[in-house]
Every structure is written in structure tokens, then in C-alpha cells.
């Protein structure tokens, strides 16, 4: 039983990590692009906002029949979790970038920095606390949503939860719920710590 909890927890972590990692790779560059193209950017934000409002079980159901990403298993689960993780990362990255004063950007350019240098040396570091906040929210919510993924055979701690619900066994329920809650709290604390580290000594603006 405890072996089972451990392997399901690891499976759960894998689902979450893959989804959040993929979402960051898409959402952070998209946010940078959106910040420079506000009109198109607000459309992108609206789209991810809409995705966020679809209930997770419904989204699994909707995408299940699709070729390539559809079908029972972890592939679809990671894809859906990825979709949900987009919004918090996108929004927080944008928020961080928007918070940088025009004067700081102008100074950087006026001193002869290239756009890439401004991005790398000024914008990303200054937006970093906010980006990490986005990663924190995305990770914590994905840990929760990932429990639903067991419904489509993706594994993870949801397996124990569903089994516990079906058999009305408190022990099984707790075996799924407690590690999931612990993961979420741990992830929250970890990212909070990174966020604080990034914010001290560089109190911006």
C-alpha cells in the first residue's frame, strides 16, 4: 500500500511537472510578445481565460475523442493540465512586465542596450517575482486538478481518491487526499520562498 502511494505520488508529480513546464515554455514567451502587442495580447489573454472557465472533467470529455491528443491516458491529462496552467503564468508574467516603469525601459534603451539586452538584463529580472508567483499558482492548482486526471486513466493520486469514493473507504480516500494536499502546500511554500528571495534587495520602482 505505501509503495503504491509513493509511486502514485511520483506519477502525480510527473504529470504536474510536465504540464507546468510546458505551460511556462509557451506562456512566458507569449506574455513577452503580448506585452509588446497589447491588442493581440488581450485576445490571447481572453482565450486562456475561456479555457480556464471550462470545468476540468468537461474538458477531458471534450478532448477525449480528438486524434493525437485524445484517448485514455496520461498524454491527454498532461495536455489539459497544460492548458489550465497557461493562464496564471501568462497573466502574472504580463503583470510583472507591465509593472516596469516606462522610464526604466527608456533609460536602458537610451544607454544603448539592445532589445534583447533590455529583456534579459532588465525586464526578466524585474518581472521575476511576479513570474514565479504565476508558477506557484499554476503548480498548486495543477496539483489539485491532476487528481481528476485519474478519471481518464492517467494515474496519479486521483486513482486512490476515485477508488476510495467508489468503495466508501476512508483510508483509501485519505491515502490519496493527504499526499495531494501535502504536495500542494510544499509547492506553495517552495515557490513562495523563491519569490521572497527574488523580491528582497531589489525592491523595484
Amino acid at each position: 500500500m505505501s509503495d503504491n502511494i509513493l509511486s502514485l505520488t511520483l506519477e502525480h508529480l510527473l504529470l504536474v511537472s510536465l504540464a507546468v513546464l510546458a505551460a511556462s515554455l509557451i506562456a512566458i514567451p507569449t506574455a513577452i510578445w503580448s506585452q509588446r502587442n497589447p491588442r493581440a495580447g488581450s485576445l490571447v489573454l481572453k482565450l486562456t481565460d475561456i479555457i480556464q472557465t471550462i470545468p476540468s472533467l468537461a474538458l477531458f470529455g471534450l478532448l477525449l475523442p480528438l486524434p493525437l491528443i485524445g484517448g485514455i491516458g496520461a498524454k491527454l491529462a498532461v495536455f489539459v493540465l497544460f492548458l489550465y496552467a497557461l493562464l496564471p503564468i501568462l497573466r502574472n508574467t504580463l503583470l510583472g512586465l507591465d509593472g516596469i516603469s516606462a522610464e526604466i525601459r527608456e533609460s536602458a534603451i537610451a544607454l544603448g542596450m539592445t532589445p534583447i539586452q533590455v529583456l534579459r538584463e532588465i525586464e526578466i529580472p524585474l518581472a521575476a517575482p511576479s513570474i514565479v508567483a504565476g508558477l506557484r499558482i499554476a503548480t498548486v492548482t495543477t496539483i489539485g486538478t491532476a487528481t481528476v486526471a485519474a478519471a481518464i486513466g492517467a494515474g496519479g493520486l486521483g486513482v486512490l481518491l476515485y477508488r476510495g469514493l467508489a468503495t466508501v473507504e476512508t483510508e483509501l480516500l485519505l491515502a490519496g487526499a493527504l499526499p495531494a494536499a501535502a504536495l500542494a502546500i510544499l509547492a506553495d511554500q517552495l515557490f513562495q520562498w523563491i519569490e521572497d528571495k527574488l523580491s528582497t534587495s531589489r525592491r523595484p520602482r
Binding site: E103, I104, S107, A110, G112, L126, R203
Partner: protein, 227 residues
């Protein structure tokens, strides 16, 4: 050094600057004076190509500005903006060292600007207003540029500190373009005053000639000196 010929700048349909013809001589301090919205800050940004002229021409050492790579151009112009634009996540040392191409070391440069070198490892928010000013000026001078442009850098300072910073500017051996709305400051710093009103030059010449101007806004400015 810099010559502006019939320069115009529009933002959309709004004419921000029209018919600006002006010589900025080498190693002199040219002060752009005028009320808020007169176009003086815009004029500054045409020189380092943060904005591009709509009409006319600007040359730097006889070379048209459009023929100079903007990055090369900007690296040859020290720039200090109104709120300084210091990077909050960089220490004073890094702000200066990042742009440093000077024969003097970062420490020597800081010291020459009156910045205590023990402060170099502090972040901007750990420095006083006057110290931040000095960091911004040292940063602007770090690449040893022939030209220094300052956009109302001292407007938020108390009178004593302001005077100190003006004294510092007077010691610099550079071509300087200085934007201010303060007549006293302009008179004190400028070899040449350029008075802008609604995007036009209504006076340009040495400070002592300002009294000869017939422009109502210049006269109104001069009256503030008597109070």
C-alpha cells in the same frame, strides 16, 4: 557638433515640434527651457533617436543622424531622465560598470562625481535622492560620451542639493544639452538658452540676451525672477 535644420516632429496628426533650427556647439552647455508640453523633452529624444524626426534634418559632426547606427549613437550620448531611470535590481556599481568604457575606474569616476565609493554596493532604494542623482550622472558618463543630455534631472531636489548638483554639472568638460523649466537653473547653467513655446523656438541666444525678447511667455518667465 549637432545641427538641427527645420526639424519637425508629429505625433499622429498633432504637431509637437515645428521648424526647429538650432546649433549645439561643442563643449558648451545648451539649455532647453520652456513650460511643460513645450516640446523640450521631445527634442532631446530626437537627438538620441528614441523618436524619429518627421521632417527636416539633424546632423552630428556633419553626419546625418539616420546614417548613424542608433545603438552606436546612443552609446555616445550620456542620458539622465527626469526620474533617473535607475535599475532597481542593480547596485550602484553595476549601474556604472555595465556601461563602463572609461579610462578612469568605476571608483575614480564615482569619486569624481562626488559619490562616496563605500556606497557603490548599495541598491538605488538604499541611497538618498542626492546619491541617486550622482549614480545616474556617473552611469551617463560611464562610457565617456562626448555628449551628455539631461532631462529635468534636478526638479525633485531641495534647493540646496539642487545647487550642489548644478555645481557638479558646471565642472563637467562635455557638450551638454540640459532640459529644464526653471529659469534660474537655465541662466546659471547655459552658455546658450533655447526657449521653446508650443513646439517652436521663440528665443535662442546667450542668457543675458533673454531680456531683449518680445515673446509674452519669455516675459512672463522673466517676471518670475523679480518675485
Amino acid at each position: 557638433m549637432i545641427r538641427l535644420n527645420q526639424v519637425g516632429f508629429n505625433r499622429g496628426t498633432a504637431k509637437i515640434l515645428t521648424g526647429i533650427t538650432l546649433d549645439i556647439p561643442e563643449l558648451q552647455r545648451t539649455v532647453l527651457l520652456g513650460r511643460s508640453g513645450s516640446g523640450k523633452s521631445t527634442l532631446l529624444r530626437l537627438v538620441n533617436r528614441l523618436l524619429e524626426i518627421t521632417s527636416g534634418s539633424i546632423t552630428l559632426n556633419q553626419k546625418p543622424l539616420q546614417d548613424i547606427d542608433p545603438l552606436t549613437l546612443r552609446r555616445s550620448i550620456g542620458f539622465v531622465s527626469q526620474n533617473l531611470g535607475l535599475f532597481p535590481h542593480w547596485t550602484a556599481r553595476h549601474q556604472i560598470a555595465r556601461f563602463h568604457h572609461h579610462t578612469d575606474s568605476v571608483e575614480a569616476l564615482a569619486a569624481s562625481i562626488g559619490l562616496d565609493t563605500t556606497l557603490l554596493d548599495r541598491y538605488p532604494h538604499q541611497l538618498s535622492g542626492g546619491q541617486q542623482q550622482r549614480v545616474a550622472i556617473a552611469r551617463a558618463l560611464a562610457s565617456n560620451p562626448p555628449l551628455l543630455m539631461l532631462d529635468e534631472p534636478f526638479s525633485a531636489l531641495d534647493p540646496i542639493l539642487r545647487r550642489e548638483m548644478q555645481d557638479l554639472i558646471l565642472t563637467l568638460d562635455k557638450t551638454i544639452i540640459f532640459v529644464t523649466h526653471d529659469l534660474r537653473e537655465a541662466m546659471r547653467l547655459g552658455h546658450q538658452l533655447v526657449f521653446l513655446r508650443d513646439g517652436n523656438i521663440v528665443f535662442s541666444g546667450p542668457p543675458q540676451d533673454l531680456q531683449k525678447s518680445d515673446d509674452s511667455e519669455v516675459k512672463a518667465y522673466l517676471r518670475t525672477l523679480d518675485q
